[in-house]
Symmetry: C2
Subunit: 385 residues, 2 copies
């Protein structure tokens, strides 16, 4: 009866409008109806990526799209740089290593971002780097890497292409792929894009296409050239995730209704600030500094004196509030408050209220209401702008 | 307003119960709820595959699962045999060749099946074959290969593993993976499995797992070992297609409600016979003989004197009846009447009636009602059994 309040970094809640769109009558992926759906929808995704490039839709999770970016551009034995600031950067390293690449790892403390200067210094002594990879929004730590600056460092200090994992950011944060000079940008459906998992979205610019054309990949399912060829006909090389594409069209409706992606990104910025203000008011520490804090997910340190696992279990069991724990080396040290996609300031007020109720149950020392009040202040200030 | 009557070989219509299941509240793929869903659902899929092996669920189209079967078991430069009786056999050849395998192609006329003797004769002079691939239900021609016999030929004449593409069959035809000796069996969601595209289902037996463990694959997303490891925990290595798995659970409900997969397969057998009887009564030729005719899809030759493309366009435009055309070398020569998944004898009567209406519009010479009557006779006889 009680709905689970899913405040995870993905999968995230699905809007009713999207659920209904996905329940539309099935159509053939070789029909005129599909071509129209595909063309219109990919066109409408372009502003969300900040690109004029063709949008490719793969019937797969985000991991497959990241692997596609790797195997289509770099061959075994070639050198790449991976900027890793958390678990998903490390994940990228694993994908590269499994595929036989020589990986130079620019590793940061978990909770920190990578700056332009750091990447520039790292690239200077290296030659022969074919590609530089970075995570835009690191889901494990709640960090937004300044990829617009990292792109500059890549251009200034190498001929490499710059590949960005946008999985938990795109749809909730600003993205200007073309302007910033990202060569391949990838995201998945189940995070800020408000869809169930199973669709990945990829954009590739001319520089990267040249690399892909020159590179000999053995991948069949993940062959981006075949996706490009078929996209010209408004179709995909194999059966696409038709219902998710119907849902994606509804997602575009919602974002356009809100006033476009810049407005949607503003809402995420407000939610980020609400969560951060609330935690400060509750004397609960955040993992990251404000400067590079993610607009879609906040990593929160264990409230003092609490058993984190017990607190999270309690919140879920008694209040149906479902947060995600820490990943890897941060397991047991932080929890993650997802505020992406179909999530609103009212949801932040709700979650903070329930967090406070749970803190009272654990006799945590704080002024009840302080967190909610701080979040409200941020919200109200944003409305007065 | 008028619903499109989708009589394609996939994607196929989605049952309302499945649509609603897929619209359930999203859950985390690392939650207890998911583990329960995953464990129960994969257990219930086993009878549909005729296996006691673990069922693996990949968030991908069927093509990716076919490629997974290839890249996990065979390394570049190694030799395989591909039995191809149509477009999807050829597709398998392409996947193998792109991945650098040496392919021995056992090619049959489109519209014919491959027999045990033919495969045995083909295998005898070959040594060093690592894997034999065959399509169970060839969607392009409406042929059901006797894979139970082909499996015997593989065991008798090689040490190879036997990999079967079950994509448009499984869920609508008998499958006894363990009893027949299929080592890897693969299917997709959007055909007889009554789901939207985007989920593939794979089962692997002990013999094939040994080959996979010994084989060094560079695939990350399609690494079957990682799926096996995570399946032990009731999870998947990366974000699964959660909503499709919710839908798969509802599909299992429906098949169990019908009396189990053997009853579901009987219904498909009746529909096949209805379509074939109707076409015979209308003097419209079938591509295949009865012996190996597919229970899920029938390939029908162009009715005499008709312009096929014009007839199909007319059926869709005037009667909203949507058939699939021919693929590859059969384009313009046949059309394909899909009767798989959420399709019932009543749907066959409807489609044959509308086909007859269309034939009258084209002044085709036939006895109106003859096709429907013949289909009814088959249907009524099946009910009397």
């Amino acid at each position: 009866m009680y709905p689970n309040i899913l405040r995870h970094p993905g999968p995230t809640p699905i809007p009713k409008k999207v659920e209904l769109a996905m329940a539309e009558n099935m159509i053939s992926h070789r029909s005129e109806e599909f071509v129209k759906l595909y063309r219109e929808t990919t066109e409408r995704v372009k502003p969300i990526f900040g690109t004029k490039q063709e949008i490719l839709l793969l019937p797969s999770g985000g991991t497959a799209a990241l692997e596609a970016a790797v195997v289509n551009t770099v061959s075994p034995g070639e050198e790449v740089v991976v900027v890793t600031v958390g678990a998903f950067g490390d994940y990228f390293v694993s994908i590269c290593e499994k595929n036989g690449l020589v990986v130079h790892k620019l590793e940061k403390e978990w909770g920190e971002a990578c700056t332009k200067e750091e990447l520039a210094d790292f690239l200077k002594p290296l030659s022969n780097i074919k590609a530089v990879f970075a995570t835009y929004n690191e889901t494990s730590t709640g960090i937004l890497n300044p990829v617009w600056e990292l792109a500059e460092a890549v251009k200034e200090h190498s001929d490499a292409i710059f590949i960005v994992d946008g999985v938990s950011g795109i749809g909730g944060v600003p993205a200007e792929m073309d302007e910033w000079g990202i060569d391949i940008l990838v995201t998945g459906s189940q995070k800020a894009m408000m869809l169930p998992p199973g669709l990945s979205i990829v954009a590739v610019n001319e520089k990267a296409w040249k690399v892909i054309e020159a590179n000999r990949s053995t991948a069949y399912y993940l062959d981006l050239l075949s996706y490009r060829d078929w996209a010209e006909k408004g179709m995909t090389p194999n059966t696409p995730a038709v219902s998710l594409i119907m849902g994606l069209s509804a997602v575009c409706d919602l974002i356009e209704e809100e006033g476009g992606i810049s407005k949607t990104a503003e809402r995420h910025e407000v939610m980020k600030n609400m969560v951060r203000a609330a935690m400060n008011a509750l004397n609960i520490e955040l993992l990251t500094d404000d400067e590079y804090a993610s607009p879609t997910i906040t990593a929160i340190r264990t409230p003092k004196s609490l058993d984190l696992a017990e607190y999270l279990r309690h919140l879920k069991k008694k209040y149906h509030l479902d947060f995600a724990g820490g990943l890897g080396r941060l397991q047991g040290k932080i929890f993650r408050f997802g505020h992406m996609g179909y999530c609103f300031p009212s949801d932040i007020l709700q979650a903070v209220s329930l967090m406070e109720a749970g803190l009272q149950d654990f006799a945590y020392s704080f002024e009840p209401g302080a967190g909610v009040r701080a979040a409200q202040d941020v919200y109200l200030a944003s409305l007065r702008k």
